[in-house]
Amino acid sequence: MLSVFWAVLRRDLLLAFRQRGVLVHHLLFFVLVVALFPLGTGASPAILVTVSPALIWMSVLLAALLSLQRLFKPDYEDGTLEQYLLSPEPLALIALAKVLAYWLASGLIFVLASPLLVLLLGVPASAVPVIMASLLLGTPTLGLVGAIGTALTLSLPRAGLLLSLLIFPLYVPVLIFGAGAMRAAIEGLPAAGALYLLAALLMLGISTAPFAIAAALKISME
């Protein structure tokens, strides 16, 4: 059972790293949104620091929305997904492996790139560990929850806007606790509470979302 998990994970990671351009696109999207923002608000450091939690988390949310649309699409188009459904291995496990591979190739990049970007916004360096921790705990949950929405809209040709309506309301807790932890860290307040809650959401996501993704894939392939 575990061997299929590793096999799917390896395959998806291999595919992701064969298209390094796409990995760079994730990073560029993140950098561009953050870099364009001061052009709209003015470069006053006070404003930038105040809005930085919202800015970082909203750009992560938007990046997740854009990249999640491709999560199952290639497998759906070339028939791999049908083979997953037909195989005796548990579909939920395959889905979990796919989400993990997706996160390693996109969410992790945001986590690693975030210190540079928040320093660009004038956030104190002491807040950086908490910011990285909040992204590390929050972005996998975004992938897990978003994958349910992607799986439900799999058969639709252009699902982008619909997908945002489906998953953004479900992203509210992650946004609140993620940006909350970041805001607390910037103000020098303890952020552990928000981080624990993010971790709790992640555990809930890991333990329940794969089954919902599997059910959604089955509905879409009916």
Binding site: I148, T153, L162, P169, L170, V172, P173, F177, L201
Partner: protein, 244 residues
């Protein structure tokens, strides 16, 4: 239990749903009218809020139904996913616009109430915000249903989405409350809750029950329409129309 199995038969459901819907509609409308009239005209004036509190007789039942509607959709959704009951699927799809309307009504009346009480149309109060997100959850179900062509998979997708949504509703509510306490709240987010005077409470209970019956009536009526559309090629539907 045999009578329950009969509801699996769609023509049977179509036949009996009409009298059931009417049996809900008549007392529902009467109770709602009685409750709203009692609230707007007969109930005593509130000593703090004056006459402005009277919008509560529409606001509270709507807010209650927004939650009741989504919960009932999720229960029906779970039934639809586990037992593949067609009627439960249709219920999810049919209840969504009704529930969304009540949610919208709750938001609008809340906003109108907020203007004289808080001095502004909108406050990022925890309850208001989670109600707004609940409206988005409803709209997501409706949009998903509209987007998927095959009615069967559309309804099943909506069933799954409502189950996922209902798990999230308490989490969203909790997180929004947590978020709101981080900020300094507006000075009057919630009024002190004195135990309500019976003369005020009684019309409210009537209105809430009446609105709930009306929810059942409207949902059943919508289910009948959905059913006719989904089964439009079957013989029994053609017979319904040729008899009419």
């Amino acid at each position: 239990m045999l009578w329950l199995h009969r509801f699996g038969s769609l023509p049977y459901f179509y036949r009996v749903s009409r009298p059931i819907a009417l049996a809900l509609a008549v007392p529902g409308v009467l109770l709602a009218v009685y409750g709203v009239y009692g609230g707007l005209v007969n109930a005593p004036v509130d000593y703090q809020q004056g006459d402005a509190f009277r919008i509560l007789y529409i606001h509270v039942p709507s807010a209650w139904l927004s939650l009741f509607g989504y919960t009932s959709m999720a229960i029906a959704g779970a039934v639809a996913l586990v037992w593949r009951l067609k009627l439960a699927e249709i219920f999810v799809v049919a209840a969504a616009p009704v529930g969304a309307s009540f949610t919208f009504l709750a938001l609008v009346t809340g906003s109108i109430w907020g203007k004289p009480m808080w001095g502004t149309w909108w406050v990022w109060d925890a309850r208001l915000t989670s109600e707004l997100i609940l409206l988005f959850l409803y709209l997501g179900v409706i949009a998903l249903h509209n987007a998927i062509e095959s009615p069967r998979s559309a309804a099943r997708a909506c069933a799954l989405l409502s189950v996922v949504g209902v798990i999230n509703v308490p989490i969203i509510h909790f997180s929004v409350e947590w978020w709101n306490t981080l900020h300094q709240g507006p000075t009057v987010t919630r009024f002190g809750r004195p135990a309500m005077e019976m003369a005020m409470l009684w019309p409210l209970l009537c209105a809430a029950l009446g609105f709930t019956l009306m929810f059942g009536w409207l949902t059943l009526w919508n289910m009948r329409a959905q059913l006719l559309w989904r089964e439009r090629r079957s013989r029994w539907v053609k017979k319904v129309f040729s008899d009419a």
